[in-house]
């Protein structure tokens, strides 16, 4: 294991000594401080994203080679306001810095990014980092904005009063890395901590508790780390989960209370007092008016009427973009895939292999690739809204409404995004700190009718809903479509509320949320965020879709029948037999075996319903077309000669699609984000049950009433 007290006073040279270890640098900072911008500027495209072992906390690491320094590995720590607490992000950050994560080496040096417009709060985290007793550099960001607000920081004074090296990395449009690079060429001395503390008794008690805690956890901790551990227990930031130790903590708190010291708040109070004095000695303020610009904008943007209108406008723009801008690239990809299919077809001899590759793999994977433009646009807009600071305003406005459904303000944008595709929606739930709120949002996200359901709705509405107008104005077909969307949203609300009252009962959730000043989104940050997420989507969804496509192809192609028409071939295949098999189960819902096949097939991807229905009517269609609509409408029962499907059947089927979980990509991403198969299974189970019951109720009640 790495030793805990590494002091490197020698200058690592860049002459390429292979035995020399790379310099490990951790980058820490509060959210919105410019930490990610710095990491991106330092590592460019040479980075990788993974998860820390055993937790769903993202780990970003990048390498670069610097002159006079050699190889440097930068590790971007999760953005937190403190590293004391028990939340996954804070635990990972503090354990990483102490070298307590088994697969990670302890960093040689910490860079703490300081947003100079928010000195007190940023220095609060920095003082906690200083307690760790590791080499520390403070990197000042957004100094140009601070100067504009009249905040003038004297670097040498700050360095001396705070007790760590200070460099400026602010630049008008680009991060200025020159002074940071210069300071990396010689490791600063280790920062010594705890000079903020005015109560020696507090430190004493912390030390005793910390040492005991370390023993119980069976880790070896340096004196500083013991004190830090003890402080987090004493202040209540962390619970120790050892009953004997908890009693000791209580005793210590009482002892301190007798001396008039409140253990819960003394640490923060003393820290801020010390920080105030440091700032008073090192920073001059030209004017007392800060952040007024943001406030005036906020007054409009969060206003009941104007704010709402602006919000609707932005959302309309985003959806318009998704559905119209994506069309051209989607058609391009579609054509490309068709071309590729025919190319491969002409190349391979007819037979099973060709069928597998062309009809199975290429079609299956192609159906996912076609959605990539929509997903890219959606990720892009979410990233821009996030970077600019508008997302927190949206959460602020919607919190009250969302709470009535057991969710919170930050769930709003993820759920709204799920109207286009649930995968980006689920990925953007990372912004929700409360675990239960995040889980609830992830579990109901697929209920928001996504764009993949649209072809199914379109086909069924065109075939079975009469093209008349209600009250001479509202199209019945349009209203039905709207009803399906509303049904999904309503269902999501009900399920979230139910979850809150049962599974997630009694859990505490907090809304406390920083509202950063409006900022121009940085192109590099946006680019990397979008790229990261799209690659994640392709990796998670791609593999599972590939597997499902192959399975479905197999089910639909075997056993083969010579000389049979397309429809007959499908009927006698395993897929067809499966359809017949489940017919008794789906009959109460108003479906027959043909719809059964379609439903089974669409569990891989919803759009497949259309193409499989087409196949059963001897058509080659992939999209709802005139011929397919007519074929489905005029389908007759061979025994009675009557029309097989009625509008009620169609509505029942649509209701089924609203609630059922027929997207492997969503399940894959759910598993990834929740870190367990259980929740994925739960999502599938509850949605399938809901779909069945809702469809049953619709058909049975409908057939009694009409």
């Amino acid at each position: 294991m790495t030793s805990n007290s590494v002091t490197r006073n020698s200058l690592p040279n860049g002459s390429g000594d292979p035995r020399k270890k790379p310099l490990r640098v951790a980058i820490a900072g509060v959210p919105n401080s410019g930490k990610t911008t710095l990491f991106n500027a330092l590592t460019g495209m040479r980075y990788k994203v993974a998860n820390y072992p055993g937790v769903t906390v993202e780990k970003k690491e990048g390498r670069t080679v610097l002159p006079n320094v050699g190889e440097v590995i930068f590790c971007d720590l999760p953005g937190t306001y403190s590293i004391f607490g028990g939340s996954p992000d804070e635990l990972v950050a503090s354990r990483f810095l102490s070298g307590l994560i088994p697969s990670e080496e302890q960093p040689d040096l910490i860079i703490c990014v300081i947003d100079t417009c928010n000195l007190e709060r940023n220095l609060y985290l920095a003082s906690q980092l200083k307690d760790q007793g590791r080499p520390l550099i403070l990197a000042l960001s957004m100094n140009d904005l601070a100067l504009r607000d009249g905040i003038h920081i004297r670097k040498e004074l700050l360095a001396r009063n705070f007790g760590a090296q200070v460099v400026d990395i602010s630049g008008r449009n680009k991060t200025d890395l020159s002074s940071l690079y210069a300071s990396l060429s010689s490791i600063p001395p280790t920062a010594s901590g705890f000079d903020w503390c005015l109560c020696p008794e507090f430190i004493e008690h912390s030390k005793t508790l910390g040492v005991r805690f370390a023993e119980l956890q069976k880790v070896s901790a340096s004196p500083e780390q013991s004190i830090v551990l003890g402080m987090s227990l004493l202040t209540g930031a962390r619970a120790s989960a050892h009953p004997a130790l908890e009693t000791q903590v209580q005793t210590a708190r009482e002892a301190l209370a007798l001396k008039g010291i409140s253990a819960g708040s003394v640490e923060t109070r003393d820290r801020y007092a010390w920080i105030s004095s440091v700032i008073a000695k090192s920073v001059s303020f030209a004017s007392a008016e800060r952040n007024r610009g943001t406030e005036s904008v906020d007054r409009i943007l969060t206003h009941k009427l104007w704010g709402g209108l602006v919000f609707l406008g932005i959302m309309a723009l985003v959806f318009q973009a998704i559905f119209s801008w994506a069309e051209a690239p989607m058609n391009l990809i579609d054509d490309g895939i068709s071309y590729f299919r025919s190319f491969v077809s002409s190349w391979l001899p007819p037979g099973i292999l060709r069928s597998l590759i062309v009809d199975g793999i290429i079609s299956g994977v192609g159906s996912v690739l076609v959605f990539v433009p929509q997903i890219v646009i959606l990720f892009f807009f979410i990233a821009v809204l996030e970077e600019s600071g508008y997302l927190s305003r949206a959460a602020f406005m919607m919190d009250n409404l969302m709470r009535r459904f057991g969710l919170q303000g930050r769930s709003f944008i993820p759920l709204l995004s799920s109207f286009a595709c649930a995968v980006p929606g689920i990925l953007s739930t990372r912004s929700i700190p409360s675990w239960t709120d995040r889980m609830a949002t992830i579990l109901v996200a697929p209920l928001m009718s996504c764009s993949a359901r649209l072809p199914v709705y379109t086909l069924l509405i065109a075939a079975f809903i009469p093209d008349t107008a209600l009250l001479g104005f509202f199209s019945l077909q349009g209203l039905t479509l709207l009803a399906m969307y509303l049904l999904g949203a309503f269902g999501a609300g009900m399920i979230a509320l139910l979850l809150k009252k049962t599974l997630f009962r009694g859990s505490s959730t907090h809304f406390v949320m920083e509202m950063p000043p409006y900022r121009m989104p940085q192109p590099l940050n946006i680019l990397r965020t979008v790229l990261d997420r799209v690659l994640l989507f392709l990796k998670a969804a791609g593999t599972i879709i590939l597997a499902c496509s192959i399975i479905l192809w197999f089910l639909a192609s075997f056993p083969q029948r010579e000389g049979a028409s397309r429809a007959e071939a499908v009927e006698s295949s395993y897929a067809g037999r499966l359809g017949h098999l489940i017919e008794p189960v789906i009959k109460p819902l108003g479906f027959d075996w043909k719809f059964g096949v379609g439903i089974v097939a669409s569990f891989a991807a919803r759009e497949v319903f259309v193409s499989s229905t087409a196949m059963l009517h001897n058509l080659e269609e992939e999209e709802p077309s005139e011929s397919l609509v007519l074929a489905v409408k005029n389908e007759r029962d061979p025994k009675t000669g009557k029309l097989r499907y009625t509008p009620l059947t169609a509505i029942s089927l649509m209701v089924f699609f609203v609630f059922s979980c027929q997207c492997m990509s969503t399940l894959a991403v759910c598993r990834r984000e929740t870190g367990s198969w259980r929740w994925m299974a739960f999502m599938f189970a509850y949605m399938t049950a809901m779909a069945y019951l809702a469809s049953l109720a619709t058909y049975q009640l409908g057939s009694r009433l009409f």
Partner: protein, 99 residues
């Protein structure tokens, strides 16, 4: 049946949002934080880490459309919090607030 459902939703929501006795908070109100009601709770730790400490002065700069949450300014930055979170702190309304 729909009406009953609506009432259920409203009630469930309202119960968890704001206690009936919560004082009215408007834009321009300024408070001084005296102490925390329960210094060891998770919420208090969160508030403290956000800089809402004893002695800090906060000003309400904005109120969400339905009255809750509120946006406050302290030491130059903005934090939004629900009314129940705001009143988890012992506050003194300052004299020269806009009333």
């Amino acid at each position: 049946m729909l009406l009953k459902l609506g009432r259920f939703v409203g009630k469930a929501g309202r119960c968890s949002i704001v206690g009936n006795k919560s004082p009215n908070v408007r834009r321009g109100y300024r408070y001084r934080i005296d102490s925390l009601k329960d210094p060891y709770s998770e919420l208090s730790q969160k508030l403290l880490s956000m800089g809402l400490v004893q002695g800090a002065i906060i000003e309400v700069v904005n109120v969400a459309p339905l009255g809750d949450p509120v946006q406050i300014r302290t030491q130059g930055y903005h934090v939004s919090l629900r009314l129940n979170e705001l009143f988890a702190m012992n506050l003194t309304l300052m004299q020269n607030s806009v009333l």
